[in-house]
């Protein structure tokens, strides 16, 4: 192993764009068992603390005229609340805390992951898949509990010609079951790709002639990643709302 690493470095350009995603124990070495505190765990914890700092410490004064922190907290609250209300209607407001939980976790993981040397929990398919499947199963169970068997009308497009309906139903069913996959891979893929590309540009910086270009490219990518971080959190949240709406109002 050591010899191999040395051989690589002697070769000049060294790219390890994926090394940043390695989950390893935060304290010491060893195997990663289910309870080990890893770098991923630490950054999740930091995200939780950041959420706590913004939404609890930031609003501790309960000011009628808000401070800056409280303003941001209220903005986040109003943003997600309005999204849930607009998409799911009044009945959806009951599920607002769950959706807000997902949004706050994703948005803070994404942004904290942009700090140099940070780890991005949401770049891992394990993390996003758990959230996506939680949404998928939650919404499906909720749909059947709320609507009973009539939840299946979601797949029966009554506005289409009768001959087309079975085909459309098949397509609808397939797309329904693909939802959690696309939902999770979209977020993890975006986060992973952006971070990997930045790392690749950083690798090019080893060549003096390309270094300035590399720095410019990293800066540009970083700016793009800031956008992507927010947009992916937004997309994940709004899709969750759309799926929830389907469960609450399955009729087309």
């Amino acid at each position: 192993m050591v010899a191999e690493a040395k051989g690589e470095e002697a070769g000049g350009l060294v790219f390890h764009p994926m090394d940043q995603f390695i989950v390893e124990p935060f304290f010491g070495d060893g195997a990663v068992s289910w309870y080990t505190i890893t770098n991923s765990t630490v950054w999740m914890a930091i995200a939780v603390l950041a959420v706590f700092a913004l939404l609890v410490l930031g609003t501790s004064k309960r000011a009628i005229v808000p401070t800056r922190m409280q303003s941001v907290a209220e903005l986040a609250y109003g943003f997600i609340y309005k999204m849930v209300e607009d998409i799911c209607g009044k009945e959806g407001v009951k599920y607002f805390p769950y959706i807000m939980t997902l949004f706050m976790f994703i948005v803070f993981s994404n942004f904290l992951g942009l700090l140099p040397m940070a780890f991005t929990p949401t770049s891992h398919i394990a993390v996003t898949a758990v959230m996506a499947f939680a949404v998928f199963f939650g919404v499906t169970i909720l749909g059947f509990v709320k609507n009973g068997a009539s939840f299946l009308e979601l797949f029966w497009v009554s506005s289409a010609p009768l001959a087309l309906r079975p085909i459309l139903a098949l397509i609808e069913v397939i797309s329904y079951f693909v939802r959690p996959v696309s939902h999770s891979i979209r977020l993890a893929g975006n986060m992973m790709a952006g971070h990997a590309v930045i790392k690749v540009f950083a690798g090019f910086a080893a060549i003096a002639a390309i270094a300035p270009l590399s720095v410019v490219a990293i800066t540009a990518m970083y700016g793009l990643e800031v956008l992507v971080s927010f947009i992916q959190a937004y997309v994940f949240t709004i899709l969750t709302c759309v799926y929830l709406k389907d469960a609450l109002h399955p009729h087309h």
Binding site: E4, Y35, V48, L55, R62, L102
Partner: protein
């Protein structure tokens, strides 16, 4: 040889093939290193539950209350402003009404005063007229008296003079005759 090995490893890594043992430090795509899945899922659930409790127990009710309170304050202030505006309009109307009433009252007082003065004046004129007519009657009476007494005096003087003239002419007549003659003369 070493380079070749690295390349083939790299290719395998890119393909996401689990060519490494779990203990190996550099898997191609750490996302597909299933040995860490349990760990990530466990801590993710812990993190999500923690955030959920922070939000649902503390943060969201508090922010909701603050927003509702602010909305309430704004609504109250607007209502209060509306109230004050209505009050101002009412006050203006009351002021206008009072002004109109005061003007009417003033007109009424002026008319009453005018009527009083008119009545007083008429009474005074009537009184004066009565007095004047009384005075006139008195004066007339006095004049008549004076005239009557003057006529009497003239008669007496005329009789006396006629008696004297008759006596001076050397004839005598009794007083009765003379008096009848003078009376007849004066009437004529």
């Amino acid at each position: 040889m070493a380079t070749e090995t690295t390349n083939s490893d790299g290719l395998a890594d890119v393909m996401g093939v689990q060519s490494h043992a779990p203990a190996d430090a550099a898997p191609g795509m750490p996302q597909l290193d299933f040995t860490t899945f349990g760990n990530q899922i466990f801590w993710l659930v812990v993190a999500l539950v923690a955030i959920y409790f922070i939000l649902s127990r503390v943060a969201l009710p508090r922010i909701g209350a603050v927003l509702a309170e602010r909305q309430g304050t704004i609504t109250n202030d607007i209502a209060a402003a509306e109230d004050l505006k209505v009050k101002a309009t009412e006050a203006e109307a009351a002021y206008d009404k009072a002004l109109i009433e005061a003007r009417a009252e003033a007109q009424r007082i002026i008319a009453a005063a005018k009527a009083d003065i008119q009545a007083d004046l008429a009474k005074a004129i009537a009184d004066a007229d009565v007095e004047i007519s009384a005075k006139t009657a008195e004066s007339e009476k006095a004049i008549n008296e004076i005239r009557a007494s003057a006529m009497e005096n003239v008669e007496v003087v005329a009789k006396d003079t006629a008696e004297a003239i008759v006596a001076a002419l050397g004839s005598s007549a009794d007083a009765k005759t003379i008096s009848a003659a003078v009376d007849a003369r004066m009437k004529g």
